[in-house]
């Protein structure tokens, strides 16, 4: 066991972990942050995407010890200070960008990473960026709409029903 210390959603945390302890298991277990999900074991589904030092990473493909000293942000840290939904979260609700909710935390974290680097992405850029996030419920239609809307862009007429 080794001790690891990091900041998660702005709060300093530490704990004893094994070498093999994944970041996602540290978040879900000792920290009780169960919003980050595990949907596969080949690092493809993206349900576990979190931000480490501002960058989207798959928390199932990174060891907790590798996040030593890092700033980690999870879905639990995405709401506004007053607890209301953040811009991306609100857009997902407004545009029905989620159904069962399981892929949603990863989708929101990926969307946030995209908009940080590319504040006005095109539809094609959004779709390409979500290559590592699988959703089985929505057919992606409303997720793409939500991200377009969250970026302050018009949602195309075809997508507006």
């Amino acid at each position: 066991m080794s001790n690891v210390t990091m900041k998660v959603n702005g709060k300093p945390v530490s704990g004893d972990v094994e070498g093999r302890t994944l970041l996602v298991d540290f978040l879900r277990g000792p920290l009780g942050l169960t919003g980050t999900h595990v949907g596969c074991d080949t690092s493809q589904c993206g349900a576990c995407v979190v931000h480490v030092n501002g960058e989207a990473v798959k928390a199932c493909a990174m060891f907790a010890l590798e996040a030593e000293g890092a700033e980690v942000r999870t879905i639990e840290g995405m709401a506004e200070a007053d607890g209301s939904l953040g811009t991306i979260q609100a857009a997902f609700q407004e545009h029905h960008g989620l159904q069962c909710g399981f892929c949603t935390p990863g989708m929101v974290m990926s969307a946030a990473a995209l908009l940080k680097d590319n504040p006005k992405p095109s539809e094609a850029e959004i779709r390409e960026y979500l290559e590592g996030n699988i959703c089985r419920c929505t057919g992606y239609h409303n997720i793409v709409k939500a991200i377009l809307a969250a970026s302050g862009q018009d949602v195309p007429a075809i997508a507006a029903e």
């Binding site: 093999r20 879900r28 942050l33 169960t34 919003g35 980050t36 999900h37 595990v38 949907g39 596969c40 074991d41 080949t42 493809q44 589904c45 349900a47 999870t74 879905i75 639990e76 995405m78 709401a79 939904l85 979260q89 997902f92 609700q93 407004e94 029905h96 989620l98 159904q99 069962c100 909710g101 399981f102 892929c103 949603t104 935390p105 929101v108 539809e123 094609a124 959004i126 779709r127 390409e128 979500l130 290559e131 996030n133 699988i134 959703c135 089985r136 419920c137 929505t138 057919g139 992606y140 239609h141 409303n142 997720i143 793409v144 709409k145 195309p156 075809i158 997508a159 029903e161």
Partner: protein, 787 residues
């Protein structure tokens, strides 16, 4: 002006708030003090004699609490099958035993052999590697036709791999044969409906708990229907009476059918928790899900459509082999029969239909219902053969369909169902409009200029959902009723809690159900709370699948609310000193007709619980009612879909350029949610058509056993869809006039995709390509173009 509340409003989903903030509570988020962890040792061969299991070394490893094998489950029942099909000769299907853990034989890769329960998950997994099953490998049988032609037996004790040979309608057979023999034109198509893996994003999880103080068991599980699991597991497997067994399905991360069924892992953790006197948790890895979740589809079909010289359909004959896999999963026998054969009429006036289905055991993962379940298989073959017939006869495929549309309702098909309502011309008209079919030629020219092939495919569909009248399905072999239930509890201050047997795993019941009740009473939607997913606090219900939640569960809720309103009116009448017949309820207020005397909803609710001025002699206090609703018929959503594709002639890659769906779902409660359901269904249908396919090698290993090889549709594989549900012919036999929308997209979309690709290739001169089996991967399409 769209409504902003109540029935017909696109109310934003209240459940989204917890899902968007990481506060959802899925089964894997549940941890019970002192819980142990289970790891399943699964067969890595497809077929073999299990001579024994050596657990000695493993049992001595750190943290191991106990290792269970098939022998531990000899005293309990096997996993039951919930549907018994009767074959052409009137004999019941062959029904093999399905042990919780393999005993004597292993029958598919993934068949559970033993389970290690240990203090930690990694300890359980370490020890599982030291468990040594002694297996003598046997030749596996994978091909269905080989299986029924003397292939190795999957189940020695039943003496055959043919589960049943079903004919429907058997009395029509001779007339169908004769009509086909004498027809002007017969189009024949042989096709495969590819095996799919449902892949809800949340893998299955089961946590068993046992309370010593009252000898009760609790199972937390990723299920679409906790009451069904409680009944099947309690009564048939473990012998736990229902009053000592609670099943909780909390937030569930998608189901798509594969979370309907009762699985061995659920029975195991419940059993083990009682044995060990501590909670036991099992969480599937995705790799494990691929070889333990029931698969879907997997039909091999020959279909023949007979037409007269004018293109009228005369007769239809189908011959299908349906893969059951190694065991009968919960509803497996019903899928290729009553959910498939009864839909073969489609939207058309075909007078004579005969469907033969041979259900076959193979050394593969069990196959059961997956989104659409039987209806996609029916729709695909019918709509593909019609397209092929149109091409062969040189007629427009839309006109050929229109010519044969059913136009008068109710309509009794030759395959035993009666469609109550529909307007197939209307959905086709709407489709042509929203798909901009008129603009196709211009888009075709553009594609050509870019060196791409372009094709347009269309199809219609009909489905039967709102499953189902219990007495009817009982006659057809169901071992369960298919009603739904709701208890509406009105609190003293006027808020309502609705406890429903329906289960939401993405469908948005927590939002859409209150829209209905709020409209009935005339109160704010936020005064209504939906409780579901826990057998301890909901009435016996049958759960969510077959697009039944609103049509059946919603109807139960309406009936219970009607009882509430009737009683509330009596209370109001007493207080207002009027006759109950004169009481009107509007906008949350009870009024005596023709007067200004009124009473607010909340006042009546309070009176029910503080019955001072109350007709106690005639009426019990309180305001809580339960209704069970058993539908009189299936509901029959229908529609028309169009797909436009581009094909890269150099690589065979198919790109979905446009996709349009015109559906008739009857009345709509929440259009936003309905759109979302259709989008998701379309994506799964496109997935089936172009990408997805479970593939076994000759040894019975699942080659497509992870997301590295099983292609899940991603955002960049799919376009925006144009969907419309303005054509509405309300269902005539349920109180909401609703039909159900959950499966339509998955049923309606595969044929239009394949029709479009074939169209693109035909237009490019590949006139020998009349069919390509799904999934139409780049490699397959390229191969088809090579001649």
């Amino acid at each position: 002006m769209p409504k902003d509340h109540g029935i017909g409003a696109s109310t934003k989903r209240r459940e989204d708030v917890r899902f968007l903030t990481g506060k959802g509570r899925y089964t894997d988020d549940i941890n019970i003090n002192g819980q142990a962890y289970a790891w399943f040792v699964r067969s890595d061969v497809a077929h073999g004699t299990l001579n024994g299991v050596d657990t000695a070394d493993a049992a001595a490893m750190p943290g191991v609490l106990r290792i269970f094998t098939g022998a531990d489950f000899e005293a309990v029942g096997g996993i039951p099958c919930g549907w018994q099909v009767t074959d052409r000769k009137g004999e019941v299907m062959l029904e093999p035993r399905h042990p919780v853990l393999a005993h004597g034989k292993v029958r598919h890769v993934g068949d559970p052999i033993a389970v290690v329960v240990a203090e930690t998950l990694e300890q359980a997994r370490d020890a599982a590697e030291a468990v040594v099953p002694d297996i003598t490998e046997l030749e596996p049988v994978l091909d269905m036709k080989a299986a029924v032609q003397g292939g190795p037996l999957v189940h020695d004790e039943i003496g055959s791999n043919l589960c049943y040979d079903w004919g429907f309608v058997e009395e029509n057979k001779e007339a169908v044969d004769a009509a086909i023999k004498g027809a002007h034109h017969v189009t024949t198509l042989e096709l495969v409906n590819n095996r799919l893996i449902a892949n809800p994003m949340e893998p299955r999880v089961a946590v068993g708990d046992y309370a010593q103080h009252d000898d009760s068991s609790t199972l937390y599980t990723t299920s679409q229907n906790p009451h069904v699991i409680r009944l099947l597991m309690g009564a048939f497997v473990l012998g736990i009476p229902e009053h000592k067994l609670r099943v909780v399905a909390p937030d569930v991360g998608g189901g798509f059918g594969t979370k309907i069924f009762h699985y061995a892992e659920e029975a195991f953790v419940t059993f083990a928790a009682k044995e060990l006197k501590r909670a036991v948790k099992w969480t599937a890895t995705r790799s494990e899900a691929f070889i333990s979740d029931a698969h879907g589809r997997d039909h091999v079909t020959k279909i023949e459509l007979a037409l007269d010289a004018d293109g009228h359909f005369l007769a239809l004959r189908t011959d299908t082999y349906a893969n059951m896999g190694a065991y009968l999963s919960t509803f497996a026998p019903s899928v290729p029969t009553w959910l498939h054969g009864t839909l073969m009429a489609g939207n058309y006036k075909t007078p004579l239909i005969y469907v033969n289905v041979k259900a076959v055991f193979t050394n593969t993962v069990p196959v059961d219902a997956y989104r659409g379940a039987g209806r996609p298989e029916a729709t695909f073959q019918l709509e593909r053969v019609i397209d092929k017939a149109a091409r062969e006869m040189g007629v427009d495929p839309i006109e050929l369909r229109r010519k044969n549309f059913i136009t008068e309702f109710p309509y009794a098909t030759p395959v035993a169902v009666e469609y109550d309502t529909g307007d197939y011309h209307a959905t086709m008209d709407k489709l042509l409009e929203i798909a901009d079919v008129a603009g196709f030629d211009a888009r075709l020219a553009k594609s050509k200029a870019n060196g791409k092939l372009r094709g347009l495919g269309m199809n219609c569909y009909i489905e039967a959902c709102g499953i189902a009248p219990s007495n009817l399905v009982g006659q057809l072999g169901a071992r369960a009723g298919l009603y739904e239930s709701a208890t509406v509890r009105v609190n003293a201050t006027g808020g309502l809690v609705v406890m429903t047997g329906s289960h939401s795993h993405g469908q948005g019941h927590e939002t859409s159900f209150p829209q209905v009740i709020a409209e009935m009473i005339g109160i704010d939607e936020n005064m209504v709370e939906i409780v579901h997913g826990d057998t301890a606090n909901t009435p016996m219900g049958m759960g969510t699948y077959g697009s039944r939640s609103l049509a059946v569960g919603g109807s139960a809720m309406v009936r219970a609310t009607e009882k509430i309103i009737a009683k509330a009116k009596k209370i109001a009448a007493h207080i207002l000193e009027a006759s109950d017949a004169d009481i009107e309820l509007k906008d949350g207020s009870f009024t005596v007709a023709g007067t200004d005397k009124s009473l607010a909803w909340g006042d009546v609710c309070l009176a029910a619980y503080v019955p001072h001025n109350y007709p106690l002699a005639d009426l019990e206090p309180g305001l809580e009612e339960t209704a069970f609703y058993d539908p009189a018929n299936f509901t029959y959503p229908s529609g028309a879909y169009a797909c436009e594709v581009e094909v890269d002639p150099e690589t065979g890659k198919v790109t979905i350029e446009r996709f349009a769906a015109a559906d008739d779902f009857g009345n709509i409660v929440n259009p936003m949610i309905v759109d979302g359901q259709v989008h998701g269904g379309i994506a799964q249908g496109i997935g089936q058509a172009l990408m997805e396919g479970a593939s076994y090698d000759e040894a019975g290993q699942l080659v497509s056993g992870s997301y590295m090889d099983y292609t899940m549709p991603r955002a960049d594989d799919l376009p925006f869809y144009t969907v419309d549900h303005s054509c509405q012919t309300p269902c005539t036999h349920n109180p909401l006039g609703v039909k159900g929308c959950g499966e339509a997209g998955a049923i309606g979309s595969p044929p239009s995709v394949v029709n479009a690709v074939v169209d693109a290739l035909q237009r490019a001169g590949h006139t020998n390509v009349t069919h390509i089996d799904m999934p139409l991967s780049p490699a397959r399409v390229w191969a088809a173009m090579q001649g």
